[in-house]
Amino acid sequence: MITLTLKQAVDGVPLEAESICPDVIAALDNAAIRALPVYLGKRQCRIDDFFAVDGETSEEIDVHGDLRKVRWIGRGMTRGRISIDGNAGMHLGAYMKGGTIDVSGAASDWVGAEMSGGLIRVAGNAGGQIGAAYRGSRSGMTDGTIVIGGSAGLEVGMRMKRGLIVIGGPARDFAGLEMKGGTLVLRSGAELRTGAWMNRGTIISLKSIPLLPSFLYSSSYVPTVMGVLGKHLGSLGIDLPLKPAAGTYQRFLGDTSVKGKGEILVWHH
């Protein structure tokens, strides 16, 4: 177990810390970890300019402190575990391929951007572009799981191709924008334009949401596949309403503006 404790506040210029990653750290001794580069604007610094460093040669990294302006933690990781006791900054777990990231506080924009495997859990709120494609990229996340306990910002799951995103609080506009596949669960609904221009994939909203004119009502039922999804989410500690007695899912198909074959399932009591 390696423990990093923030000792110098990062509250102005953000810190770019892609070195905080099991793949980078796992084989290093304590002195080598301390010397790893982090970037404060244009300045290259050492990890131990900002963190107290305990431990060495481990895939498990515990980080403590308010890291809301510490960006790129867990970038491209393929294994191991990062546990953040505090907030996390932008690009958390971007390009991740495996392993786990847990955040007790809030996260920022671009959580799990273009990830292809692994699990990210944020207890608090997160920003926008969760599991999304970076500007111009054809696809967002291609696999993996992201669970946000609180609210989320714009463009959640933008161009995601596969994988699962669960948002506990309300999401803002454009959730599931240009979705190509995968599953997006909005436990507290979303604001405008959910599923805009989606091609494929499934958006499940447990609250009523406004829909675009390019989504058409299809039917009301509880799809059988929900049982499978419900079980999987249960293993992550998330409940999905499934009992027909409690209600049903209204199924909307679209986005017809792109001849899309996506679906939005809205829970209806």
């Binding site: 970076y134 500007r135 240009e178």
Partner: protein
């Protein structure tokens, strides 16, 4: 992601028989647009000029531009994205939900008629303005127009063009692209160019306080930006280069009055369709040009001792 299908303004002048102005008011904001480039011009293939063109406005209120239109469509505020999406569906013969279309403020028949007119055009163009790009949805509203224009090419010749803001914003975009690869919001702190709107774009940086100094050239963020951004400009070193003392100047540590580009300073401006125009200054100015000041700053920085990061204990 359909792409960007556009042309230079002369193509509009010579060919466009169908012109939509969406979310913009050129009569007041681009006052020479109609007369010099679009509806009033007699074009090579539109010899009848105004009579050979159909002009449509789409806006949330009636503007002087709408009054000049053949058809002025008034839609409810915040519905541009919905209208764009509906057009894309109808264009492809796809179904839409009539009740939700009605929320746009236009009947389904009106929108269907618009699609038919677009398809019948010989050369259609959509000019879109800040009423679209700066309202809820922002870049997605613009993306909607871009997609409509690209997709319309399956039926007829169609283009679109953003109505750019004042100054040489197009020129800044063009130069940044060839030197850094990106049009705006470029971060060079890691030694090479990086781009991520929302992370490195100006308003976001200032609101979050991600930078610790600001140099402002030819812009006035102190007049237009949210309060946290203005507070940040006041709290951190801010330098302004401008011919006038601006709102930002009043928050700044240093203000340089510089010569007015195009009047007393030369250079190249890029028109909204990216055509370069040589500026021919006609007057002399007692002030130095922006370029001279920037070069002096660069030279002064170069004379400073080489910078090394201070150990943490010595930081203030």
């Amino acid at each position: 992601m359909g792409g960007k299908v556009t042309c230079t303004l002369g193509e509009v002048k010579n060919r466009a028989d169908f012109i939509i102005y969406w979310g913009g008011n050129p009569a007041e904001c681009h006052p020479r647009h109609f007369t010099k480039y679009t509806i009033m011009q007699k074009g090579k293939f539109v010899p009848l000029g105004r009579k050979g063109r159909t002009m449509i406005t789409i806006d949330i209120r009636e503007t002087p531009s709408a009054r000049a239109a053949d058809i002025a469509l008034i839609i409810k505020p915040g519905k541009d994205f919905e209208l764009g999406t509906t057009l894309r569906a109808l264009m492809k013969g796809q179904p839409v939900d009539e009740a939700r279309v009605a929320e746009i403020g236009l009947s389904l028949d009106t929108i269907k008629d618009l699609v038919e007119r677009m398809k019948r055009a010989k050369f259609g163009v959509i000019f879109f303005g800040m009423g679209l790009s700066m309202t809820r949805g922002k870049h997605m509203n613009s993306a909607g127009i871009l997609n409509i224009a690209a997709e319309m090419n399956a039926f007829t010749k169609f283009v679109c063009m953003p109505m750019r803001g004042h100054g040489n914003v197009t020129g800044a975009d063009v130069v940044l692209r060839w030197t850094t690869g990106y049009p705006f919001g470029v971060n060079l702190s890691r030694g090479y160019p990086r781009f991520n709107p929302g992370e490195f774009s100006t308003v976001d940086l200032l609101v979050r306080g991600d930078n610790d100094a600001t140099l402002v050239l030819g812009a006035d963020p102190g007049a237009t930006m949210p309060q946290p951004a203005i507070d940040h400009l006041k709290k951190t070193p801010t330098i302004v280069l401008d011919p006038k003392v601006t709102h930002t100047s009043k928050l700044a540590r240093v203000h340089f009055t510089t010569a007015v580009t195009g009047v007393s300073a030369g250079g190249t401006a890029y028109r909204m369709d990216e055509i370069p125009i040589t500026l021919r200054p006609g007057l002399k100015s007692p002030y130095r040009t922006d370029e001279e000041i920037v070069n002096l700053i660069i030279a002064a920085v170069a004379r400073k001792p080489a910078w090394r990061p201070a150990p943490i204990a010595q930081r203030a």
